[in-house]
Amino acid sequence: MTELMNPSAVAVEAPPGAAPTGDAEGLSRKSLSPRQMAWRRYRSHGPAMIATVVLVLMVIFVLLAPITARYGVNEAVFKTEGGVSNRYLSPRAEAWFGTDDIGRDLYSRLIYGTRVSLAIGLAAAIIGVVVGTVMGAFAGLRGGWFDDILMRVTDIFLAFPFLVALLVTRNMLGEISWLEPIIGERTSIRFIILLLALFGWMGVARVVRGQVLALKEREFIEASRAMGAGNRRIIIRHLLPNSIGPILVAMTFSVVAAIIAESTLGFFGFGPQPGADTTSLGLLVGTSKENVLTGNWWMVLFPCLTLLLVALTINLVGDGLRDATDPKLQRG
């Protein structure tokens, strides 16, 4: 019953399948590498392919923001003069998605906002994946007390309301003055990325740990060890390349979780305030709640749909990746 999905909760949502085993299908088609087989399966996954195309288009669209956006972030569509107000215009030729309370074009602001939110999600997820992979590989390979503590901690955080953990930690980190030069003001983008990464590594750590536990007893690891390979070599040369699928899947879900968490914080007014000349999806979605009862439907609908589209496409890509890299789940 967690409304705001902890990235960890989403990543471990499917019952743990066994480690990817040799794909029977690969035997009949000779000389296809596992990566090629995964790519083949991915391409045959309809929804994932559509989502990939939409996502790539969206990313290109927001990267080219100065060209694709029609107005600047804080630019009004036209000056209020002669009794014609630019406030809360419904969608029309000058402003495709309407304007907000001070006459700014919602369409252009959404492009800039999505850009910032995607960057936040990606950055938080990358940090989370790196930290989580290291922790998980270490815990799985060494076991012992480190493993025990890691599992206990993640258990509690998985079941604890994620938003509460975020809010309390946010306040605490914001109050510690000597941390400020490192992590920034609590309304800065850097702060929010680090805050989300702080919780984002756990899911990845669990996934990697499970993979390592399943793989470390296999013969090829044993062979490698017999030939004198150390822990580091085994992790880098054998364990990680064999777990790349699940790690990628966990990462896509972390990106979505981070974007939604950022928007949720923004919705309640605890999100980033990315300076005067940018905005974020969280801020835009946050303004929607003031417009629910006033009948400015475009202020509610478009930010919400944009967030939904971003979350959905990345989720679909992740789902496709999961099916492609874990043949056991798909074949059923």
Partner: protein, 329 residues
């Protein structure tokens, strides 16, 4: 089994102490309870503030945190809870009501989600790879991608503004969008209550249905592939018995665990939904207390939530061991 329970229960105590201590430190650092007290009670005398510090054990310094934690723990365990800083109210009565409201909302949503989710999960898993399997799977993913505040805000807009504008006649469509009862309502009224619960339950259920559907599908697919099902079919057990007696019963195991953990998380309330629909549950209780920096309200809330999480995690483990004879504890 008995030894396992005892061992886990013994472990639960230090876990609880450590977690509540960390939460205590986090809240004290994050909200600065004394400053919040001054903000809420601008005209409080120095003596009053001293009394507040004394009651809550808000001593300064590292040693003060440890000492303060134990003094807080003592008064918490003896049931002598300090009053809230906003309005100087007793905390327990409000907390109790909030808990009841949250359990009602989340309980109804959970039960509905489990029933609907399991049904769809089975429906999809019986024909893996088919169009209907893909349809259910993709629909579930779409539902999973809808953040609760998005569905809440859109439903609220539709039902608070537009259904009233477009269909002024159809009063049954005018679902209320805030609170538990109409203003001025006293006593119990099931019909009104359900009307007020409709939209929040839908918002919560959208995501949980998707979670249960996907979980059930994956779990049943796993079971359907197993050797003992092939054996059962081979010895001539009817397809119906194979499905109901062999497959379903085993596939439900992870669902039971998931549900147990879910029920534990339910005590934390549904912060997003409750706040948008102004539903006075645990989530709203938390966000209000958090906004006020209300230390005497935040701490008991945290303890209850942490306690529920630990207990239901234990129950999840136990239920698994109890239902699955292969697991010996």
């Amino acid at each position: 089994m008995f030894r396992f329970i005892v061992r886990r229960l013994i472990w639960a105590v230090p876990t609880l102490l450590i977690v509540t201590f960390l939460v205590y430190v986090a809240i004290r650092l994050g909200t600065d309870p004394v400053a919040s007290y001054r903000r809420s009670n601008a005209r409080a005398s120095e003596a009053k503030i001293q009394q507040y510090i004394e009651d809550n054990g808000l001593y300064e310094g590292f040693g003060g945190y440890v000492k303060g934690y134990f003094s807080w723990l003592g008064s918490f365990l003896s049931g002598d809870w300090p009053n809230s800083i906003k309005g100087n109210r007793e905390v327990w009565p409000n907390l109790k009501d909030a808990m009841a409201n949250s359990i009602r909302l989340a309980g109804i949503a959970s039960v509905l989600s489990i029933i609907i989710g399991v049904t769809f999960g089975v429906f999809a898993a019986l024909k893996p790879g088919s169009v209907r399997d893909g349809g259910v799977n993709t629909t579930a993913l779409v539902m999973l991608s809808i953040p609760p505040f998005v569905s809440a805000v859109i439903l609220q807009m539709v039902f608070a503004v537009y259904t009233r504008q477009w269909f002024p006649e159809a009063t049954w469509l005018h679902f209320p969008t805030s609170g538990v009862y109409p203003p001025g309502q006293h006593g119990f009224n099931l019909l009104e209550m359900l009307r007020y619960l409709t939209l929040p339950v839908i918002v919560v259920a959208i995501q949980t249905i998707a979670v249960y559907t996907r979980y059930m599908r994956a779990s049943l697919l796993d079971v359907l592939n197993s050797d003992y099902l092939r054996t059962a079919r081979a010895k001539g057990v009817s397809e119906r018995t194979v499905l109901v007696k062999h497959a379903m019963r085993n596939a439900m195991l992870p669902i039971v665990t998931l549900a147990a953990i879910d029920f534990g998380a339910l005590f934390g309330g549904l912060i997003i939904t409750e706040n948008i629909f102004e539903y006075p549950g645990m989530g709203r209780f938390f966000l209000t207390a958090y906004g006020n920096g209300d230390f005497p309200e935040l701490m008991p809330w945290m303890v209850i939530v942490v306690l529920a999480v630990i207990i239901f995690n234990l129950l999840a483990d136990l239920s698994y061991a109890f239902l699955d004879p292969r697991i010996r504890l």
